[in-house]
């Protein structure tokens, strides 16, 4: 699946976009965040605290307990601050 990162999540990871192939045990968005935290020191900094993160699956906001299913694009970011 394609991952997109925004704001300080993007800065901590060091890239705005990457393709990953998580193991089958990664069932929902929260699992994905835990798995990503183990991928590099930058990922660890970005994904250490899931309470600071929000997500979208295929461009729709979802709670972190949402199953990934056949998601093509998953975005991870801080709470939005537009307007």
């Amino acid at each position: 699946m394609e991952l997109l990162y925004f704001a300080w999540v993007r800065e901590a990871v060091g890239v705005g976009q990457e393709r990953v192939d998580p193991p089958e045990a990664v069932y929902n968005v929260a699992d994905l965040i835990c798995w990503l935290a183990e991928q590099s020191p930058g990922h660890a900094a970005a994904f250490a605290d899931p309470t600071k993160l929000r997500a979208a699956i295929d461009q729709r906001f979802v709670p972190l307990d949402t199953p990934l299913g056949n998601a093509k694009e998953v975005a991870l970011f801080p709470p939005v601050t537009g307007g």
């Binding site: 925004f6 975005a75 970011f77 939005v80 307007g83």
Partner: protein, 146 residues
Amino acid sequence: MIRVSIDPAPIELAMELAALEERGAGGVASFTGVVRGDGGVTALELEHYPGMTEDALCTLAETAMDRWSLLGVTILHRVGRMSVGERIVFIGTAAPHRREALEACAYLIDRLKTDAPFWKREWRGEAASWVEARASDEAAAERWHG
């Protein structure tokens, strides 16, 4: 009629308001967000989620059109870097009567704050910091549910 735009270019207020008046409405309401110079802020930088942002704003506009008797909705949001005093966001609504226009305008800016994927970064000279979401914005958006 719905007009949604996400653009680094400045927002031309007079032109946008005139376009809403041309919808033949009895009332036009608008909200303009301007970069504040609080706490030594010199500039603001806006990042967004291309693709999703446009959809989120169109969905908000369509929801407002359904909920109130509107003749027009305009939602413009700037992205990129802007200085203190510059416009960040413009919401305009056109309706036969003032109440629909005013209520829909308040609804749109409250919901935009929580429902559209934008992120703000404040610059103070050379130092930058990401703006944290506020619980009061969450509460303001929540008030429109139901």
